[in-house]
Amino acid sequence: MAAVTFEQATRTFPQSERPAVDSLDLTIDDGEFMVVVGPSGCGKSTSLRMLAGLEPVSSGRVLIDGVDVTGRRPRDRDVAMVFQSYALYPSMTAGENMAFALKNLGVGAAEIKSRVAEAARILQLEELLDRKPARMSGGQRQRVAMGRAIVRDPKVFCMDEPLSNLDAKLRVSTRAEIAALQKRLGTTTVYVTHDQTEAMTMGDRVVVLQDGRLQQIGTPSELYERPVNTFVAGFIGSPSINLLDGVPVRDGRAIVAGSLQIPLPAACAGLASVTVGVRPEGVDVAGTDPGAGDRLSTRVLRVERTGAELFALVEPLGLSDGVTHRGDHLVVRLDKRLAVEEGAELSLRIHLGEALLFDADGAAVR
């Protein structure tokens, strides 16, 4: 077990002007489950590969347990990796796959046997030890790949989207298994994913990257409740947050519409306009009373019922001049017992305290 530190770690690919990972400063505590999340091409896999030693570091340093490992080979870092494609050795059985690293490291035969047996027991692979990868299901291969990592008892686990090749149902159950396994083993883990649900449910903390730059680091609820900018606000949460741009500021209030005026904190004093973010669950259906500046009238475009939830895709009516919304519509989550009809007008009550505010550059203001 060990802490991991990235110090100004940068990776620029040859023939590329923009770094794939740009001056990354990040500390992962001993035993922590850190999820790195972001859209494709944001540099999350490259960061992980820099930690594993599979990608050279152009400038900056990577430290494991306080020791600079920047120039070390992967094998000398005591890091185990679970690959997206699992990367099992096709000619070896599950047991041989797991034992391979231990054999290479010169571990004794008896020790190898007991460690593989223990990993197989934890991952319920006992029946499969003599089977080759070609004769296994996706979920079984995934478990063998996990087993290959845990038998080594490394300082750090690197996981590169290990669930993305599983079907939806298996992904949910394996997600919980990996999180529980990590808690039990207490091994520092860096987990890369593009799936914000995995990020929210698995990590102790989450790092959001965009274009190779760190956007925010924090617990899942911090990222959700207090995103530092519109990118993080939009990336975390499903369905995405509703963002209204160009909302004019008058007398310390953001005037979204005549009936919706959000009081602004003192920090917004000098701003001419702000961006307002409203989470899909940050609204209720309003009664007929005029409200206290927290109403927004809308027209329902579509209704999506997922069984447990009801999402209404609505078009806002009566917005102030110059206010635009990102996307074709707003999404609101409503009580599934409501009878909402497409085409009908719907008056919404916005929970003003939950609304997020950003300046014209997209940075949060509080």
Partner: protein
Amino acid sequence: MTTTQAPAEHTRRLGRVGGYAGLLLVVLVVALPLYWILISSLKERPDIYTVPVGWFPDPLILDNYSAVGSGVAFTDYLRNSIIITSALTVIQVVLGVLSAFALAFLRFPGRSLVLLFVIGSLLVPNQITVISNYALVAQLGWRNTFTGIIVPLAGVAFGTFLMRNHFLSLPREIIEAAEMDAAGPLRMLWRVVLPMSWPTLIAFTLITIVNEWNQYLWPLLIADDASVAPLPVGLAQLQDTQGLTNWGPVLAGTVLTMLPILLIFLALQRHMIKGLTAGAVKG
């Protein structure tokens, strides 16, 4: 009940018939000379020259085969061929695989330069280097020795190129997994890379065996007698002594020369075809 045929189906059938006719033509072009050699080797001497041609040997005799041995030292040539081919195959396959592994997976300065050099050497015809090689070998005192025949032929460029391209087509993550699993280069090659490469490796080996078995020009220049010369040189010798008047033993010798390679080919051809396409398409 009558069925009408769609025009598309009609042309498809025509196309297929045309395709088979083409295949048949190619097979005839390749197989007819081989068949001719085989039947002639089984004919009596006058029957070989009979017009019209007899397509079946009648009577069928094996005298030509026993005459091969009396004409030249056939078993000596056979032994030499086996020695030269085995040595060259082992050397070339080992060198080819190791160099391809280095060029595909190891990071070292000048890697692309080495690759360019390998590809460049593929473009130089053997005939161009024959004279300088001969001068060198003669100076070293290697004339009429196995060393003199084998060493200059042991260079490998095609195999390096073929295997490197195949190695590069392997899933990169598996190689990285082996790196993470602390496998050294040789262990990675033996336990991870080669088990995924057998078809291509078999193809490379077969091509090498056939190539070296058929070596003619270089051994002809270096070997003075049957002590080191391989079968193709022996056959030419046989042709010189018998061929002008007696083709039977020459053709019987040809059949005997082809036979070992044919057997190896038949045993491994399925793998080889698979290997070639795997190397070509993915590489």
